[in-house]
Subunit: 342 residues, 3 copies
């Protein structure tokens, strides 16, 4: 990266305050940035960190001026920084190109223009890849899978038969999409008889699915992930789950079968959800929580079982005082005993 502050301000439509000729060669956090690095300050609560930083330049909120630093004022500093990260990404992330001779593509599969399929990727019969789809090495695309344009699938991910993935999606390494849901009939003798899972998975546009995450196919019908939803690593999504649009699901979460969540829901890391419940739009579920019942839109919950976050906080403050509570109870009872004595 070799851009002047003036060029950068131009790219993001920001207002430059400071040295327009400052050469920016790197991007970094305020903590680690040096004299030729660009960083960003999300809002003025972080002003002290910016002032202490050795960053040569920074995106700052509109109207903010930092002592002795070249500032580029923008409406949303983190979004502007993301634009620069995308420029850097184009420099260093070089995807596979073309169809590698060691890729194995069924004759009945149809590939759009400009697709790339690296060595040892396998595309089964009747799969359809939109324009510009990129399959890294070791990817498996099952029979009849449909993938929208510009979607990237990283190494060794598996997308099984008849699954639909939208355009502009990012599927990370070792993801499993469309494996059988976990369904069994309990027989009277204690054995479990498999319920064949003949449904599918439909994933909207601009969805990102993190490494080693598993999304099961439906028993019948569809396991659905709405457009724009972002899912982190090692997340378990059971059969017939429905996830709305623009949700954020952090690492190591688990959604049991037939759970449904609305739009713009946020799940903190390692949280979980029982099956067959509904989470309304815009709910926020704290990290490590276990949600056992349906939630109204906009609920903010924490704990296992998850309850209103503020109540949960109050309760936990009391919780640590439990041994004290028992001691005070004993003392009170002794006082009462003494008083009741004739």
């Amino acid at each position: 990266m070799q851009l002047t502050a003036r060029e950068i301000a131009g790219r993001v439509g920001g207002t430059l305050v400071g040295d327009p000729d400052l050469l920016v060669t790197g991007l970094n956090s305020l903590e680690h940035a040096g004299a030729n690095d660009l960083s960003f300050m999300r809002d003025s609560r972080f002003a002290a960190r910016l002032e202490e930083s050795r960053a040569g330049a920074a995106f700052v909120p509109e109207g903010y001026v930092a002592n002795g630093k070249t500032c580029i004022q923008v409406a949303q500093p983190d979004a502007a920084f993301a634009v620069l990260l995308a420029i850097r990404e184009q420099e260093i992330r070089i995807h596979p190109k073309g169809i590698h001779p060691q890729a194995e593509i069924a004759p009945s599969a149809r590939l759009g223009k400009g697709c790339a399929v690296d060595a040892f990727a396998r595309v089964a019969e009747d799969a359809v890849l939109g324009d510009g789809v990129i399959l890294y090495s070791g990817v498996y695309i099952g029979r009849g899978v449909n993938i929208g344009p510009q979607t990237i699938v990283y190494p060794n991910a598996c997308i099984r038969e008849y699954v639909t993935v939208g355009g502009g999606c990012i599927i990370h390494a070792n993801v499993s999409i469309g494996s059988d849901g976990f369904g069994f009939v309990a027989l009277p003798d204690g054995r479990r008889h498999k319920i064949p899972q003949v449904g599918t998975v439909e994933i909207g546009d601009d969805v990102e699915i993190g490494a080693n995450t598993a999304v099961d196919r439906a028993t019948v019908g569809v396991t659905r992930i709405g457009k724009g939803t972002k899912i982190d690593n090692l997340v378990q999504i059971g059969h017939n789950v429905t996830i709305g649009e623009h949700c954020t699901i952090s690492g190591a979460c688990a959604l049991a079968g037939s759970a449904s969540i609305g739009n713009r829901v946020t799940m903190g890391g390692q949280s979980g959800m029982a099956g067959h419940i509904h989470i309304g739009d815009d709910c926020i579920i704290g990290g490590g929580s276990g949600v056992t019942g349906s939630l109204a839109p906009g609920s903010i919950v924490q704990g296992t079982p998850a309850i209103d976050q503020k109540l949960n906080q109050r309760v936990w403050l009391s919780f640590k005082r439990l041994p004290e509570v028992l001691k005070r109870l004993r003392q009170i009872e002794q006082r009462l005993d003494r008083m009741e004595k004739p």
Copy 2:
């Protein structure tokens, strides 16, 4: 699928009440079924759902008759529905056939009749595959592995050296079986010295292992999974764990090293188990629970640390009242103070 109600009743040995010529072309839940779909009602508690459903036909318990619907009475409606799902599965799930020229099989490996090995699957020296074993693309079968007949291994699963897998098993995508257990000697200077893991894994017949699950090999001896046990996605099974027969282990569970569980044990999602404890037959462990001690057969537990489920429920109802408890304690103490005043 194109079957009349009469044909379906014949397949499952049920009693038809309604239109024997109704053509069934799909299978679906009561909620989503249409006029040519078959659904099922598990028991009469769900009668209202069946009546409101647009399903043309349904499996119902013996003796039950629904208004205006074609019903097929059977002893276990969900089991009958599973029979139909299996028919549908045969229509749409077309496994690889034969040995793909791009598969790589060691000359000393022995394959039974009718095995299928897709492109980029690797079978190492001395591995033995029973009749009809199916290996999808990218599967790794290590040296000396033994797999029973009719077992299916989905893409990119890894079964390492000398592991034994029974017949009729289903190993899902990106599963890792036989990786080294997690064992170290703590040296006096704080370093951890690896304990080589030279044991193995033995998996019984009819076991299903979900996507991205990991089953470690034993330090010495065997990590064992009994026949008929079903394991969901993203489950961690440590070295020297012993799991009995016909257990059901839901997604994102973790069993620490040398834990042992009996037969027909059920673990809810995201639950965990400490090492070196024993869980008796028929125990049920609630979702999100952490079991820290051994359990007698038939125990039903919940919470972290897991306690009797009913006690846990009572305790959690009290739990939310903790701030109230502290307030009442203060009030009581004030009343006592006033009374004790001379």
Copy 3:
């Protein structure tokens, strides 16, 4: 394995008490060992188990003599047993050798002496493998990755572009290293805009990473794992996490973005850590705990949110008595009511 007790004592520098000609053909736990097996007793608390064992020989602490058993006295019996396990491992673990004709290695990649690359492994442009690196089948090594000598990468693991892995490391099956961190700008309309992740991952020497674990690359800068650290299966390590040296992180743990932990930290299974907190050296985090704040060196914590382990234990003992607490409160209030009556 065919070694006399005398030979074994020589290998570990121990003192033999008993039959020097006893032939040891296997290694096992005290519980499962037979007459020609060697086992070990960590310390004299397990003396009864040793006496009851059918093991023919055992490593024991210095000075200890067992009735009728051939004992080899050593300073650290488990460490001596690990030496024997390593001998056994060499007999049975036969790694791939040489470059398989079905491996696909970019011309610009550089391989040290004695590397092995099995079929269907893919090494991208400019990758550098040190001497003796072993890549199993289906492994993906991205552009510009640097791997130190003698590191082993098991089947279907993915190490993405520009990641650095030290020497003597063990990367297990289906691991994902260097996937994009989970970072998004929340737009005013509720959509999430991806923050490109252009940092990397640096892993020190002698690190072990368990099956299906995911280690994300940094947004900018480095996700770092210090030398000698051991990570179990299915662990989620977010972007910009820093892990010190000689840590032990058990299965199914999750570390959120920018968390940092010191040296020799131990995390029990299924525990988690919030982002942007710091855990001091030598902390111990109990299994299933959720750490929500920074910890001083040497802290021992348990629970969610994690608190001092001893306090947590006391509190949980009280916790089960909550229904009783409420009952006693009611009784006290009734007694007070009666007393206050005129």
